[in-house]
Amino acid sequence: MNNILNQIGIENYIFLSVLLFCIGVFGVLYRRNAIIVFMSIEIMLNAVNLLFVAFSTYHQDSEGQVFVFFSMAVAAAEVAVGLAILVSVFRNLGSIDIDNLKNLKG
């Protein structure tokens, strides 16, 4: 079986993942809408997953893909719980602007 990385190169995937991760970081810092912040977190998780798969192909080893599978399970649980928290926050405050969530401020 021909290795796909011979034609693309691992460094291209590294740059793609780094850029995708940085876009996620940018979204977390830039937006106030908590749902978009969650979406940015998903983008960051996906960047890391992509790099996992790239290196799993690089080493010709399946462990990386197993870890991607587990991180997908964790991401699904995280999104479900986070969105439920957001719904209850919206019910109590009437908005999901993250700047309004400062009740814990001392």
Binding site: I14, V25, N33, M39, F69, A73, A84
Partner: protein
Amino acid sequence: MSPILITFYCLAAITLATAFLTIYSKNPIHSAIYLVLCFFSIAGHYLLFNAQFLAIVHIIVYSGAIMILFLFTIMLMNLNKENEVHKPRITRLGAIVVFVVTSIVLTTIFINSKPIAGEYPTTGEDFQSIKVLGKILLNEYMVPFEFASILLLVAMIGVVLLSKKEKPGK
């Protein structure tokens, strides 16, 4: 340029552009649609790696389950796009600076970390078909697999408890 390289560049451009538009668009529904496109292009990357199992699971979990969850939450909240006020300009400027600095730092780290081998050896053995992955998942990684199911069950119970409507009398 080989056709595979062209495919990679197209997919990478779609991934980055849709990820950026997810953050940039004002309407949350549009963000969710762009995020679906982003996830599909990432599934395309997985297919390019010949990781069929992950591509299918990615489409089912992300584009199916998670995005439906996002869309339902957005619809439940009934957000108007005029609702959102921008952050103060200094914060936005800071976000852009952090974006540039993080990408430069991470890229330089990865460039300088280790000389990358020019060619990639293939062992020839099958390591990413669904059959092999299933065997590994249920032999070596059986305990984490069971724990993942427990995690999902606990998350489900927690979500039901969190989003349950409280009685007004209490």
